[in-house]
Structures are given as structure tokens and as C-alpha cells.
Amino acid sequence: MDGIISNEFAEVACRVDLEANSPRLRLEDLSSGRVRYLDAVELQAVVWLPEGHLRQLLDPSADRWRDDPDEHR
């Protein structure tokens, strides 16, 4: 099942991938082409992420637009 989740700030293609030994969610950031697969346990963790943790990930400097991408904050 394919779908695109988009708003004016981001566009991500989503697909349930059945190529591996169990299903995964394939996410593709359509603005950069970067792809990530999430397995069931990872997705469950996302569901359980506290709002505050999720919010931290939205900080542009958190993981992506950093002067020191390898350095842990």
C-alpha cells in the first residue's frame, strides 16, 4: 500500500514493504530521496514516544542541519 504524507513543510512517501522476512514500513523523504525502513518494534517505539521527545527531533539542528553532524549533542 503506497501513500504520500505531505503538507507544505515536508513530503514523505510511505509503503508497507514485504521484501524482508517480515513487513516493514518504507519511508522516503521526497525532498532529498533519503530512505528509512522501520520495523514493527521501531514503529511501536514511535507510537510510545513522549510528545517532548518527538518535539526534540523536530529541532532542525537535532540531527540534520548541524555544523558537527557526528558529534552527539
Partner: protein, 419 residues
Amino acid sequence: MTTVRAGTRYDELIEPERVHGSLYTDPGIFADELERIWYRSWVYVGHVSEIARPNDYVRKSIGPQDVIMTRDSDGRVHLLMNRCAHRGNLVCEDQRGNSSSFRCPYHGWTYRNTGELLGYPFNRGYGGSGKLDLGLAPVPRVGTHQGFVFASLAPEGPSLAEHLGAAADEIDRLVRLSPEGEVEVTAGWLKHRTRANWKLLAENETDGYHPQFVHGSIFSVADSGIGALYSDKSAAVTRAFGGGHSENDLRPEFRRLGQPMGWFGTSESKVPDYVSRMREVYGERAEEILVEGSPHVMIFPNLFIAEVSIFVLQPLAVDETVQHVTAVQLRGAPDINRRMLQQSVGSVGPAGLLLADDTEMYERNQRGLAQGRPEWLDLRRGVHREGVDERGFAVGTATDETAMRGFWSHYRNVMEGAA
């Protein structure tokens, strides 16, 4: 074009029975209005049903100012100025969407939908994360009545309830038409750009003198009874509520007819599910509600509820106004909602006939006003027969200019700083 002098004396431009033409044409007066009315008093912005789900947002306006109406993940409603705190870029471009955060496309500054700054790229340039005390500017005061969201850019002033006064009862009258007691503003918006001053539109909304002339063709083609409501024989009245608010109260005519759904130009057999649901919910009160119908009320300065449609006036310049229009939708009433949408589109849609007639008059009016003589516009229709009702409000006949006189009386108070 007459130009406003420094220190304009509004008492010299607004008299009880006439107003000066420069009030519609002078850019200086328009700038003054933005400061004294649009950026100070309560202005209608939107409806909570437009952001029904967590993280929904819509772009709205307060006069020329662009604002974002959001619902955060906890369900709270926010009004935020649509301007990045970094370099002033417009943050949201789409008219609506769903997002817990907004990212400015210029440098990537990212905000929660509450306005809080979440972060910015390459944060070493600011000494790290969380170093800036900035955010999207919140609108100082936000108030709601029956889901209708109003805003004031002034941190202090009269409450929303004080501003609305008796006009709030008319919103209540609209809402009670829903078997679930809620209006939904979910039919989508049309925007009509009009080359005319906003006050010409505001005054016209409850002007009962023009319909037989301006809308005569649509009334005759549609074999409509609306025209007769606005005649000297009509028992309907024009009422000024104070605060610049006014209505054409058509209930005396509908009560005389005594026909449920007569106000809607139909009979109960056409909307059986709606009528039976209303009787089930409201019991004996249902007859009164179904006979009296929906209000026709202009709430100063920019919300006009016209029975089946909602209009929002947005002034952009002294001679340019956008009318945002949508159909009223009543929660829990799908059969009447379909007809309301059809009626609304037929009258004020892109090919609708009522608003096209009115817009022609607005633009001709603005062009006519460019002629400097005679200098004044006359407001005296019905002065000699104006009365006061049991609540103390001025009332005139269906075609009298009682509402305009009320509008200008309030306008003058506001512009002179007394309100």
C-alpha cells in the same frame, strides 16, 4: 479625491443623518481605521470547526494582517501572526493543513503550532540550542462564542461579550438551528475581490432598501418571496444593536406565515429528516425555531451571517475589499446542509446572482464617490418613523437606514477614541 487632514475631526465628517464621502476614499482615513478598528477592537477570524482535529491549521486574516489559526495537540486554539521571528518571512503558505510544527522555508527556523520556537539549523551560530527567546507572535486576545473565534490585537479593552452585546443572541439563534446545537464552517471558502471600500459592504449587508432594485431580476426569475420581505408592506424590521451591529429581523414576516421552513423558502416535506430530528431534540420549542429560522445580522466590523451563508469582510486598501464566503452547515443535519450549500452557491458562488448584483453596486458606488460633488451621503431614510424596541434598540421598517445610522454612530465613537 478628498484627503484627510492631520488630526481629522470625525465629528465634522459624520453627522446623525449624513456622512462625508472622503470616509470611503481617503487613504489616510483607511490607515486610521486599521489602527483604531481592525488592530484594536474585536474582529471575527474563523470557526473552531475549521481546525477540528489536533494539529489542524488554517490561514486567516485580521484586515490585511495574515494570521494562522491552529489547534495544538492538546486541543487548544491559537492565533499566531504568520511571520517568522528571524527575518520576517511568511511561514505558512497553504490555506490549510495539518502539522504539529511550522518550518520557515527561508532558513529552516521551526516552530510548534503554539508559536514556541523549536529550533533552527546550525545552532552553533547562536551558541547552541534553545538560546533565543523568540517565537511566532501570538494575537494578544482570542475569544470564542459558539465556536466563532474572534481576535483583538490590543492586549486590553472591552471583553468579547461586551463587544458582541445583543448580537451574540443572533449567533445563538443560528446555532440552535442545528439539532446538535453546533454550526460547522466546513463547506470551503470562496473569495470575492471587490474594488470598493469595506464600509460600503458592511452597510449594504443590512440595507433593506436595495433588494427590490438591485436583486429584482433574480427575485423574478426565481419567483422568490424575498423581495416582498423588504417592502413598505413588510412587518420585518431593521434593528441597530449598538456597537455597530445590526440586523434585518425578518421573524415578524415568518411568524405571520407560520410555516416551518418558510424562512428557507421551502416546506418541511423537503427536509423531513431535519425537521423530525429538530422536533425530537427541541420538543415544543422546535416549531418556533423552524418558523423563525436563521438570522440576517451584521456583526461589526466584519462578520455577516446571511441566513444560509457566512461572509467575512477583509479590507486590503481604501478601495479594495475581499469578501470570504461560505455556506452555513448545521451539525447533525445532512439533508438541509445539502440544500444550504446549493442555496449559498446559487446566491453568492462564482456564478451566483445575489453577490454579483451587490458587487456591481459596490464598485459603481466607489467609482461614483470619486466624483467630489455632492460631498455627502444621505442616511435619513426612516428617521421620522424610527422607534425603540422593548430592549432599547433603535428599530426602523424593513427598508429604513436605521442600521447605517447605528453603524456610523459606533464608527464615530471608535474613531474618536471613545469606544
